[in-house]
Symmetry: D2
Amino acid sequence: MSSQSNQVQQASEAAGKSGRARMLISCPDRPGIVAAVSHFLHEHGANIVQSDQYTMDPEGGMFFIRFEFVLNDMDSELPVLVEDFARVADRFQMRWNIFRASRKKRLAIFVSKEDHCLLELLWQWQAGDLDAEIAMVISNHPDMRQLVESFGIPYHHIPVTADTKEEAERKQMEVVADKADLIVLARYMQIISPRFIEQFPNRIINIHHSFLPAFVGGKPYAQAYNRGVKIIGATAHYVTEELDGGPIIEQDVQRVSHRDNVENLKRIGRTIERVVLARAVKWHIEDRVLVHQNKTVVFN
Amino acid sequence: MSSQSNQVQQASEAAGKSGRARMLISCPDRPGIVAAVSHFLHEHGANIVQSDQYTMDPEGGMFFIRFEFVLNDMDSELPVLVEDFARVADRFQMRWNIFRASRKKRLAIFVSKEDHCLLELLWQWQAGDLDAEIAMVISNHPDMRQLVESFGIPYHHIPVTADTKEEAERKQMEVVADKADLIVLARYMQIISPRFIEQFPNRIINIHHSFLPAFVGGKPYAQAYNRGVKIIGATAHYVTEELDGGPIIEQDVQRVSHRDNVENLKRIGRTIERVVLARAVKWHIEDRVLVHQNKTVVFN
Amino acid sequence: MSSQSNQVQQASEAAGKSGRARMLISCPDRPGIVAAVSHFLHEHGANIVQSDQYTMDPEGGMFFIRFEFVLNDMDSELPVLVEDFARVADRFQMRWNIFRASRKKRLAIFVSKEDHCLLELLWQWQAGDLDAEIAMVISNHPDMRQLVESFGIPYHHIPVTADTKEEAERKQMEVVADKADLIVLARYMQIISPRFIEQFPNRIINIHHSFLPAFVGGKPYAQAYNRGVKIIGATAHYVTEELDGGPIIEQDVQRVSHRDNVENLKRIGRTIERVVLARAVKWHIEDRVLVHQNKTVVFN
Amino acid sequence: MSSQSNQVQQASEAAGKSGRARMLISCPDRPGIVAAVSHFLHEHGANIVQSDQYTMDPEGGMFFIRFEFVLNDMDSELPVLVEDFARVADRFQMRWNIFRASRKKRLAIFVSKEDHCLLELLWQWQAGDLDAEIAMVISNHPDMRQLVESFGIPYHHIPVTADTKEEAERKQMEVVADKADLIVLARYMQIISPRFIEQFPNRIINIHHSFLPAFVGGKPYAQAYNRGVKIIGATAHYVTEELDGGPIIEQDVQRVSHRDNVENLKRIGRTIERVVLARAVKWHIEDRVLVHQNKTVVFN
């Protein structure tokens, strides 16, 4: 989560006419938090339409809450609400964010040669199931330009080789700068550098093609086949410096058998990967995910 | 949900030293409910440790909320809190209940000849996973007396025949009167009369051995076999006058194939039935289930 | 399954160079069937690479078997094998079929306005996961012409109104005649007439958007919402004259909650529908499905 | 799998009146195996009621087959069949086994303090779902004696300490010698020595309380909690010298969320463990599992 000044700015930018906003809070647990925040929202004319709350431990743990509320005159009221909330937040040592629902998150989707995860996102987006703006697709291969541009989405082909890796990443960062709120690695087969990751803390989602932490690293389906597992899976997680070690957002699995060779596992896995990644992206853009100490709280 | 006077009484009865209580509310949605209730709880020294909320429709729908809170001196404070809450409840036209967590629900389990659902409940109870008191087991057969009594639980054998049905039910009602908060039909193969049902509104849980409403009525596994379904299931629901038509609390399923004959379906189904019934009972005794217009809201 | 003369013809038509073929047999069970058929195949130079077998009942039930075998010189050997097999088949009163794997089944996909099931089939087909030829797409709406033609697949827009229903179906039958081996109703929202159905016995696959037989007929997601089920599903089945009553090929489900309104159920359901239909089509075109008395045997 | 002489002996011992037998074969794949074996069985009066077959790779891979057949006069015919089969087996370099269905496998169940897996096995056995003889229960604790003996099953309390580990295992081996066909480690929290394992190759089944290979070693639920996985599981596998590394027989999983603390994961996990272990044991005693290079082929 970003700092408070960013939050004010973001929320202000997002302000338009009227509608819904979402508030995410994490703070040390102590009595009166729900009362204080809900009282505050009520006083500011906000009607809470959904709330989700989780306390790690009633005694001295962390407290997480998500409010979704309706404001009648959001353009003028939300900035006031955001400014005033600082006092409540200070009192409870809150890390917090307010997002206006109508301000769609802008996605930059990274792909390599496999298209299934990208296609799923495009379809769900086209069907209206993914409430985001797909700002661009970036690929180290030229293959999917036609497909992507047929959706009216800009396509940036930025080749990556062992020698040009650093230069390529610099270009990627230029292209996404100020244009993306969320990076989605839709089977992008390159490692992202720490420098890039720190630009998007908990805002890079990767799909890993195994049930993590079962098969960390490369060729997970081959690893799964060799181990003879009876169930395979996929994992969507935020990217951190530790390879395949970031906070898990969503996982799903499917039953397989001895009959399934590596090719079959890949084929079955593609459907799991697609669905898991799309769910994680959906929850992120609906502001349903909080991160605490390398784990997620998902209010879905 | 019972009337307010009952609630006061129940809550008062339940009061002991200190600990947790749960509050279930349903009312028409309008602005300020969360603020009013959480403010009220905070003022009365109650620290909210979990809250779950659901609005059917932001404009003019129903609103459901469950609070779990800690009170330091529950013996003296809860009665005051309950009494004072009447004013808040009136203002918002609430149907509400407060349950003290330490006051275990008393279960009367009805069985016929199949023991798997009963055994599951007994094991989970013995393992400490079912926070209830098993007040008695009632059966129209004598078979399970030894098993039940070995757990230190009273066993009432009340035979039922076509002729003695009414008389038998009168005896059942005598036995459970004032001794049970929840009736669990753990594969009890007799129809419960409307007279009995109205004594326990939304407090009789039945396990139906199909994925309702797929195979209403008798011999659901034979029906499932004949229809050639690829998945079978079980359904735990509150009992209403409509056969197999009450509010569904929980369902689960398992994949089957053409290889599974009726006997296999029954065998596979037993495991589903056990798990589904135990989950529904667990959620009920933890006050996680609200009923509205023949549907449940389950905060699990 | 078609008659023996058809089988000879089909198998002959399919013959090319060399490769795999699949044999599907159903017959009354009696000793020696596996021995007789596997001995026959071995004598004809066919190497069995997979066999699946199911006996409904060891005493006097039906027997189903699927052999997948490799023939070295299929062009010349398969016709001989097919011709010679008639004697074995007669002896055991077999209904049988032999399909050459390299002869791809030709699909005619029917759609209305919802595109998710069609898109899934197109994508799996393009990814090489669906070993078929998509001969055409037929729709009562013009909407998907561009999409379908971009895949190089002919698109037939045949409008259907209450008045023109019979005429429209006549056109459909003309268009598919001799050009399709399998009709796939990919959310085609029109009833198919018995006249059409009898042209494609067990060769029309429909996707129904409920866990049949739970919500037969129209608006199943609204029915599911009203009944308050905790799990929704989809069902792929062969079309028979009984509405939503044909042999079930595949079903799958997903957990939902009280939070999911009808729109959400539809959205969640779309993913289930896509996956279930694609699996059923895949199994059919790989000759893995046998039908007996309104039920399927699926060797997958 | 044991050598041929053992097979003859076992099969002979098992011979009684009449009934079913099961034949498990693994061998290098080449043309004519199914034909040869099914022809052989037919000639010996055996009627195949089920066959399952799997070829790892049509060209030069391994071939696995399971036949279930009925013999009319098993007492006199099975020994002949077994003896004669040696010639077929030699020709195809088969490793093979024939098991008479009526000869129930004898189980020795090892437990420590957690009783849920043992209870599940006892209950399924009592319900007739586990076609085995439970020869004994062995525990390093005295706690479950009464429970086990109430089922009429011998209970051996063999304490294990760091100092007495070797001695204790010697006693265990004495107790099970010639009395058990399968060892089931039903949450037995001690490491089995290589010396013990080699006495029961692929005949010791362990339940590991994680989705292997995700959380090898101790405290898997704590590991799962710390990693923040969204799904937990359990794994039944044959025990080899590599800790938690033996051939996987069965796995299953259940969805969890951030709300589930370690205690909850353990509670949810118990149900998965019970079900997974019971399935693995069931498949083993029905001779449905073949092992090849640390992986299983399960014909279920």
